[in-house]
C-alpha cells in the first residue's frame, strides 16, 4: 500500500518510516502540511497518516484537502499529541477516518493501517 506520512518531528518520522516499511508498505515522507498536500497528486497515496501540529498547514487542513480531492477514497489516519475531545471531534467532522494519540503503539498502528488495505482484504 502507498502511504503518505506528514510529520514534522524527525525522530517520529524515522520511527514511522521504519515500521511501515517493515510492514511492507511504500512510504512517502513529507515534513509539513503544505508539502503533504502538494505531493498528493504526484503520488496518489492509498492512505495518509498525518500529525496535527505542523508548519504551514495543520493536519486538520490536510484532512480537509484530502477529502476535497478524493471525496470517496483515500482514508486519513491522524496521529497526534493532541487528544482533546473537541480536536478529535473536529477531526472526524472534517472526515478523518481514524485518530490515534501519541504516545502511540507501533503494533496498534500497524493493525489499524492494515484495516484500510483494500488489496489485503481481497
Amino acid at each position: 500500500m502507498k502511504i503518505l506520512v506528514a510529520e514534522d518531528d524527525q525522530l517520529m518520522m524515522k520511527m514511522l518510516e521504519f515500521r511501515l516499511r517493515k510492514d511492507g508498505h511504500d512510504v512517502i515522507i513529507t515534513h509539513d502540511g503544505r508539502e503533504a498536500v502538494a505531493k498528493l497528486d504526484e503520488f496518489q497515496p492509498d492512505l495518509v497518516i498525518t500529525d496535527i501540529m505542523m508548519p504551514y498547514l495543520s493536519g486538520l487542513e490536510v484532512v480537509s484537502a484530502v477529502k476535497k480531492k478524493y471525496p470517496a477514497g483515500t482514508p486519513v489516519i491522524i496521529l497526534s499529541g493532541m487528544g482533546q475531545e473537541n480536536v478529535v471531534l473536529e477531526a472526524f467532522q472534517l472526515g478523518a477516518d481514524d485518530y490515534m494519540t501519541k504516545p502511540f503503539s507501533p503494533n496498534e498502528l500497524s493493525v489499524r493501517v492494515r484495516r484500510f488495505d483494500v488489496s489485503a482484504v481481497k
Partner: protein, 474 residues
C-alpha cells in the same frame, strides 16, 4: 590653576568616572545575565512544552496583530500565525484603516463574513467598522477587525477589547514566529506561585538575509549587509545580556512591541496602551509595573531568552535614523510621564534602580557622549591634544568591543544560531566596526530625537519595509 585647566580636569575626570560606572554596569549585567541564563537553560532542559499544547486546561491566549498597509504579505503572515502550536488560541488581526486592499485580500483568502459582534468597550478606541469571522471551520481561530486608522496603540486597544482570553500576545504582523513561541511564552504565567506574572517578553532577532518561506523561517543566515549585521549584534547584546540581567533583578522595563505577552485583566485595569506616545510598548510595561507597585501586590515581568521572533531590521541609515529617533522620543515620553518614580523608594527596584538606569544610560548617555566628544575635539584643536582624555576614550571603545565579544560568546554558548565559523568572525568584525560606523550615528539620531521632541515633532517615523518576499530563496 586657571579655569581652562580646571575645565580640563573636570572634563577628564568626568569621562573617567563615566567609564568606571560603565565598566561596573557591564560587569553587573554580565554576571546577572549568566546567572539568569544558566537557570533558565537548566529549567528548560527538562520542560516538555507538548504538555501545554495538548491540554484543555491551558489558559486561553489571543494574538493581537495590528496591520497597516501590509497587503502584499498579509495572507501568508496570517497563515503562519494560524499554524502556531497552541490549542486554546484566537488570532485577532486588526486592520488599522489600511489604505491598500489588505482587508479584501483577507476576506477572499479566508472566506470571511461580517459578523454581529458585541465589542466590550473597556478601553476607549477609534470606532470599529466591522468584525469578520471565517465561514470555514478550519479558520475558527481567526478574527479580523476593521477599524478607523488610529495608530498602533489604538489598534492594540481594540484587540484587547475584543479578545476573550486570559492573556494576549502582541506582535508585529510581519514578524516570523517559531512554531512553539506561544507555548514558551505562556509558561512563565503558569509557573509562578508567589508573584503574579503581569507580562512576559520575548527575544527579537534580525531576519534580514534569512530564508523565509510562506511566513516561516527556513534557514538562519547572518545579514549580508553591514548595517543589519551590526544590529544583529546589538540585539544579541540587548536581549541576551541586558534584558536577562534585568529579569534576574525583576527590573525589566521594556518588552519589545514586536513580541510580548500580557495579562489582559491588568492591562485593562491600568487603561491599556497609550495612543499619545510613540513608545507605547515601554510605556505600558512601566505603567503596569507602577500599577502593581501602587496596589502593593507581588508581581513579576518575565522574559524568555529563546530566539522565537524574527523581524526585519532597517537596512539604510535613513530608516534606522527614524527608528532610533522614535525610540528616543518614546523613552523620554515614558520617563517624563512617570517621573514620580525617580529615586522614589516606595517603588522599590523600579524606582531606585530601573528608572534611574534608564534615565542615565538610555536617556542621558547619548547626550553626554555627544557633547563629550564635541568638547574633546574642540579642546584638541583650540589648545593641545589632551592625550589623557583621548586614551580614556580609547579605553571606553575597547571596553565596548569587549562587551560585544562577551555577548557573542554568550550567544555561541546558548543558542548558537549562526553555525558557521565565518559568521562568528563576521560578528566579531562587526563588534570592532560598530563604535566607528554605527554607534556615532545612533547617538546622533538620539540627540536629534531629543530636539524633535522639544520641537513637538510627533511624526510616526513610519518604517518602510522591504517585505519578506524580497528575501525569498530564488
Amino acid at each position: 590653576m586657571s579655569w581652562q585647566t580646571f575645565i580640563l580636569h573636570l572634563f577628564t575626570y568626568g569621562i573617567l568616572l563615566y567609564s568606571i560606572i560603565l565598566l561596573a554596569c557591564y560587569l553587573l549585567i554580565g554576571t546577572f545575565s549568566i546567572m539568569e541564563t544558566r537557570s533558565y537553560l537548566h529549567k528548560n532542559s527538562f520542560t516538555d512544552y507538548r504538555v501545554l499544547a495538548s491540554s484543555t486546561e491551558a489558559p486561553s491566549m489571543s494574538i493581537l496583530a495590528p496591520a497597516y498597509n501590509e497587503g502584499p504579505t498579509i495572507i501568508e503572515n496570517v497563515r503562519s500565525l494560524l499554524s502556531l502550536h497552541y490549542h486554546n488560541l484566537e488570532v485577532i488581526i486588526i486592520n488599522d484603516g489600511s489604505k491598500d486592499d489588505s482587508l479584501a485580500r483577507l476576506i477572499e483568502a479566508y472566506s470571511l463574513y461580517k459578523a454581529d459582534f458585541f465589542v466590550n468597550q473597556r478601553l476607549k478606541t477609534k470606532p470599529i467598522r466591522g468584525v469578520y469571522r471565517s465561514s470555514n471551520p478550519v479558520y475558527r481561530k481567526l478574527i479580523v477587525v476593521d477599524k478607523e486608522n488610529g495608530g498602533k496603540a489604538d489598534a492594540l486597544n481594540v484587540g484587547v477589547n475584543i479578545a476573550r482570553s486570559d492573556y494576549f500576545v502582541c506582535i508585529d504582523v510581519d514578524c516570523v514566529l517559531e512554531q512553539d513561541a506561544l507555548l514558551k511564552l505562556a509558561k512563565p504565567f503558569l509557573e509562578s506561585t508567589t508573584q503574579r506574572v503581569i507580562a512576559a517578553g520575548g527575544v527579537v532577532r534580525i531576519a534580514n538575509s534569512c530564508e523565509i518561506e510562506g511566513g516561516r523561517l527556513v534557514k538562519v543566515n547572518l545579514p549580508k549587509q553591514l548595517l543589519p549585521r551590526i544590529q544583529t549584534l546589538e540585539y544579541i547584546r540587548a536581549f541576551l545580556l541586558s534584558r536577562m540581567a534585568w529579569t534576574k533583578l525583576n527590573g525589566l522595563l521594556l518588552i519589545s512591541g514586536a513580541f510580548g505577552a500580557f495579562d489582559r485583566e491588568i492591562v485593562i485595569n491600568c487603561g491599556g496602551y497609550n495612543p499619545k506616545t510613540v513608545g507605547e510598548d515601554m510605556e505600558l510595561v512601566v505603567r503596569m509595573r507602577r500599577y502593581m507597585e501602587e496596589l502593593g501586590e507581588p508581581y513579576k515581568v518575565a522574559f524568555i531568552p529563546d530566539p522565537l521572533c524574527w523581524t526585519e531590521a532597517p537596512s539604510t541609515y535613513r530608516i534606522l535614523g527614524r527608528q532610533r529617533n522614535r525610540w528616543t522620543r518614546g523613552t523620554i515620553e515614558t520617563l517624563r510621564s512617570h517621573k514620580k518614580m525617580f529615586f522614589n523608594p516606595s517603588y522599590g527596584i523600579l524606582g531606585m534602580l530601573s528608572y534611574p538606569y534608564w534615565f542615565f544610560f538610555e536617556f542621558l548617555a547619548p547626550i553626554i557622549e555627544f557633547f563629550g566628544v564635541i568638547g574633546l575635539i574642540y579642546y584638541c584643536f583650540e589648545y593641545a591634544v589632551n592625550w589623557q582624555a583621548v586614551s580614556i576614550m580609547i579605553g571606553v571603545v575597547c571596553l565596548g568591543i569587549l562587551y560585544s565579544i562577551f555577548a557573542i560568546l554568550m550567544e555561541v554558548l546558548t543558542y548558537h544560531q549562526y553555525k558557521q565559523k565565518k559568521d562568528i568572525l563576521n560578528l566579531v568584525l562587526a563588534a570592532i566596526l560598530e563604535p566607528f560606523v554605527f554607534h556615532p550615528f545612533v547617538v546622533w539620531s538620539a540627540v536629534v530625537g531629543n530636539f524633535d521632541l522639544m520641537r513637538k515633532n510627533n511624526s510616526w517615523g513610519e518604517m518602510t519595509r522591504q517585505g519578506f518576499t524580497a528575501n525569498k530563496k530564488a
